[in-house]
């Protein structure tokens, strides 16, 4: 899934069709081989790149729906499933930012739990106002990110090493913060209610519908500007289909949540994070420069982009998001533990890679997180429903991750000359 935004996809195809009428290729005398390679690539990497992932998700759904005799797709279970993947989704968004840069952050899970512990200690032992405690947790994340970023961007130590060392160090910090306690129960009602709250029907419908309306307005506005500028535009039928599809997904999702207890606040928060970063990556110079640095750092530097600054910002953002994930985790489980979860980090990175974010930088979209987390969450949830042992779950998840990474590597190899 390179970019599930159908908007972008249609415009690309539209352009290609328009240019194809010019004798561009014939005049140039292009060799046929690179073109064919491009077609294979574009199918895997481009607009339709997310289709295999979507099919995989469909396959998993059908399998569990049959084997659980209909329990899997019940509103109650789907509501649970989406809440189960909130933490992974936020953490995975952090992973996407770092991966796009061509770096990796192995300390995300440790940072998440350490920052959550800082919040918990401030709330429980120091009786801080819950919002200040939460803010302190997020701030701790930002500071840790700055530290990671300093070593990686300024001192140019490989991110793999810095964050691996970091993950060990932050795990130690976690032990230090929690003292001799192995778990610390958070009693503050505000913190505890962050995750398990459901929105009332007005907000449940209002927020998604507002977002869809803004989306439609944005598309219409862009279309109008393109027409005025004399650029190729999409067919109105395409636009209608695109807006219709997004609206349908929104309506069906809300209906589903409403038929259980309503839209979970935690799901809205994680979707909000994803949408926000999608907009940042797509629409702002920061996002553009992030992709540029991931694609070719030297070219980015020559274009006047502050590569060191970009890296610092990204690691700060990633660790702050990790802190948010940790806070949501604490709210859901009502406690923090000294034991760093073994699967959290891997699942976060796996969700990104399964969704099509390249480990080699510069390729992928934050929407990868949704599909990737849904696949990982479905496997987890479905195998739980089938009362499978942790051993089976681990083997299945390992296999899926390996498959995703293999596809990434093979697609990259399909065009060795030009991929960087």
């Amino acid at each position: 899934m390179h970019d599930p935004d159908p908007n972008q996809g249609v415009s690309q195809r539209g352009n290609q069709a328009a240019f194809a009428e010019q004798p561009a290729h014939s005049g140039v005398g292009e060799l046929p081989t690179p073109k064919e390679r491009f077609n294979l690539r574009s199918l895997m990497r481009g607009d339709l790149g997310f289709i295999p992932v979507l099919l995989t998700l469909a396959l998993i759904t059908v399998y569990f729906q049959i084997t659980t005799t209909g329990v899997f797709l019940q509103a109650r279970n789907l509501s649970n499933l989406t809440q189960q993947i909130v933490v992974i989704s936020i953490l995975s968004t952090a992973a996407v930012l770092v991966l796009l840069l061509g770096e990796i952050d192995l300390s995300l899970a440790a940072v998440a739990q350490t920052c959550a512990a800082i919040m918990a200690v401030l709330s429980v032992y120091q009786n801080w106002n819950p919002w200040f405690a939460i803010l302190a947790g997020l701030l701790a994340g930002a500071v840790i990110g700055l530290m990671n970023g300093f070593f990686i961007a300024v001192l140019r130590v490989p991110s793999f090493i810095v964050t691996l060392a970091g993950s060990i160090g932050y795990a130690g910090l976690l032990l230090l913060v929690l003292g001799r306690q192995t778990t610390l129960v958070v009693r503050d009602p505000t913190i505890r209610s962050l995750a398990p709250t459901y929105l009332n029907p007005i907000l449940s419908w209002g927020i998604p519908l507002l977002l869809v309306a803004l989306y439609a307005a944005g598309i219409w506005f862009e279309q109008r500007r393109r027409t005025q500028a004399g650029l190729t535009t999409k067919k109105p039928s395409h636009l209608a289909l695109q807006i219709g599809l997004v609206s349908a997904i929104a309506v069906v999702t809300v209906l589903l949540f409403q038929s259980y207890q309503g839209v979970p606040q935690s799901v809205l928060i994680s979707l909000g994070v994803i949408v926000a970063f999608w907009l940042i990556l797509k629409k702002t110079p920061f996002g553009r420069h992030l992709y540029a640095v991931g694609g070719n750092p030297e070219a980015a530097r020559r274009a006047g982009i502050n590569v060191v600054g970009m890296k610092l910002i990204v690691f700060v953002l990633a660790s702050t998001l990790a802190a948010l994930a940790g806070i949501m985790l604490t709210s859901r489980s009502t406690a923090v533990a000294t034991q760093i979860s073994a699967t959290l980090l891997l699942n976060a990175i796996a969700a990104a890679v399964i969704g099509g974010v390249s480990l080699f930088g510069g390729r992928g979209s934050v929407w990868a997180v949704v599909l990737g987390a849904l696949i990982i969450g479905s496997l987890d949830n479905g195998l739980d429903l089938l009362n499978q042992d942790q051993s089976v779950k681990a083997i299945v998840q390992g296999g899926v991750l390996l498959l995703a990474v293999t596809i990434d590597a093979v697609v990259r190899r399909a065009n060795p000359v030009r991929s960087k």
Binding site: S11, Q12, N15, Q16, A18, F19, A20, Q22, A24, H25, G27, V28, G29, E30, L31, P34, F38, R41, S42, E222, R225, R226, A229, G230, L231, K283, T284, P285, R288, H289, Y291, A292, G294, G295, N296, E298, A299, A300, R302, A303, G304, I305, G362, R363, N415, R418, S419, K420
Partner: protein, 276 residues
Amino acid sequence: MTQGSASVIESRAPEPQTVPRLQLRGIHKSFGGVQALQNVDFEVYSGEVVGLVGDNGAGKSTLIKVMSGAYIPDEGEILIDNQPVTIASPQDSTRLGIETVYQDLALCDNLDVVANLWLGREAYRDVIPGVLRVLDETEMERRTTEVLKTLDVRIPSVRQPVAALSGGQRQCIAVAKTILRQPKVVLLDEPTAALGVAQTRQVLNLIRRLREQGLAVVVISHNLHDVFEVTDRVIVMRLGQRSTTFNTRTTNPEQVVAAITGAEYRNVSTSDAEEL
């Protein structure tokens, strides 16, 4: 020298130009014990393509790097439109209107043509003035299409990642990228190296377009065929010095090769080449 370049201007430009766009005088540059450039003069006029040729290690790249601000000369002066300037960094060079197309392409494979062309100088649109600004994709795409049309660069789609383009198309995008800054001088170090025949033609065509736009163009090339196809003058570097200048229309490859290798130098220099 003056004689040679004057005839070039006559044949190329309607009014004779006497002031070079970019001029270097008495440039010295050494790296430790190695004298890479010794008392080198150089000049390029608006609407002119100069080919810079010479054996490996002759000092071509070093000379280009002095112009692009990558190296600071030990001695000598640089003038733009007869005004002395200081080029102490690549930023200085860019600010003075000198753009360099690097040998290793400075493109991001994962970004589309529009994004690459505008990288680092994106067009913005205010959503909330003073608070929130976003990329103006429409404006960038419009101007990209315009520029590529002016330069007669043909690609399937400006929204295609540059990874999907051919080597020649990529080189053209790299050149077009410099044009967006509306430079006075464009420096190209081996722009056709590693390109096929058709792709080379594409790039040479683009270089002619640059000349038509009134730019001063300097091309380093090892391929004399390309040099003869596209340049107005050929400047030969030898052992860190400028050895000979040819008017492309009145010379032939054998004479240039002789000047490059230093063989039978005296014999040739009597006809078209002038000694410096």
